[in-house]
Symmetry: C2
Subunit: 107 residues, 2 copies
């Protein structure tokens, strides 16, 4: 439902993009050039990925002269953690035995 949540899941779905984000989690600020050097795709491709990550809130950019420094915004992952905990919560709060019993009686 949530638009922001959707952007987050979508942004993390692509392996190349996830790898870029992982690199930014390991080392702090990195330029587009540095990221391109290790991404295995062209510079425009990297720029596009960074755009998607930015719209999802996963990275922030700091233009400096002719280069742009990107860094990871770890806080952006919290909706992911929240969602996981919510799913676990649903799971655990089910009265499985009772439900299953009623279901079998219903058949």
């Amino acid at each position: 439902m949530s638009e922001a949540q959707d952007l987050l899941f979508t942004a993390l779905a692509d392996p190349t993009r996830r790898a870029i984000f992982e690199r930014l989690c390991r080392r702090s600020e990195q330029t587009v050039g540095a990221l391109t050097a290790e991404a295995g795709v062209s510079q425009p491709a990297v720029s596009k990925h960074l755009g998607v990550l930015k719209r999802a809130g996963l990275v922030s950019d700091r233009p400096q002269g002719r280069q742009t420094h990107y860094s990871a915004r770890l806080e952006a992952l919290s909706p992911l953690v929240d969602w996981t905990q919510q799913m676990s919560g649903f799971w655990e709060s089910r009265f499985d035995d009772l439900e299953d019993l009623l279901k079998r009686m219903d058949q």
Copy 2:
């Protein structure tokens, strides 16, 4: 990198599919028909989504007569939790001040 991890992220990226998984986390076993009734898409579409979720390990199926019961496998989410913790770990273990200092000295 990890193939299983990739399947997981990909499976959760689509909103319709994520909604199906969420429903299965709330209520236990549900048939394809029950899921279709609330999915907002056709039965074949739901079956395809369930196939993707199953390949990602997120659901298991139990054929019974002419209907198939699906249920969520919550354990399948653990790689997601692991990944998130790993990212946080990378982040926290960085010597940010030192790195930034060296980086500025390098320029």
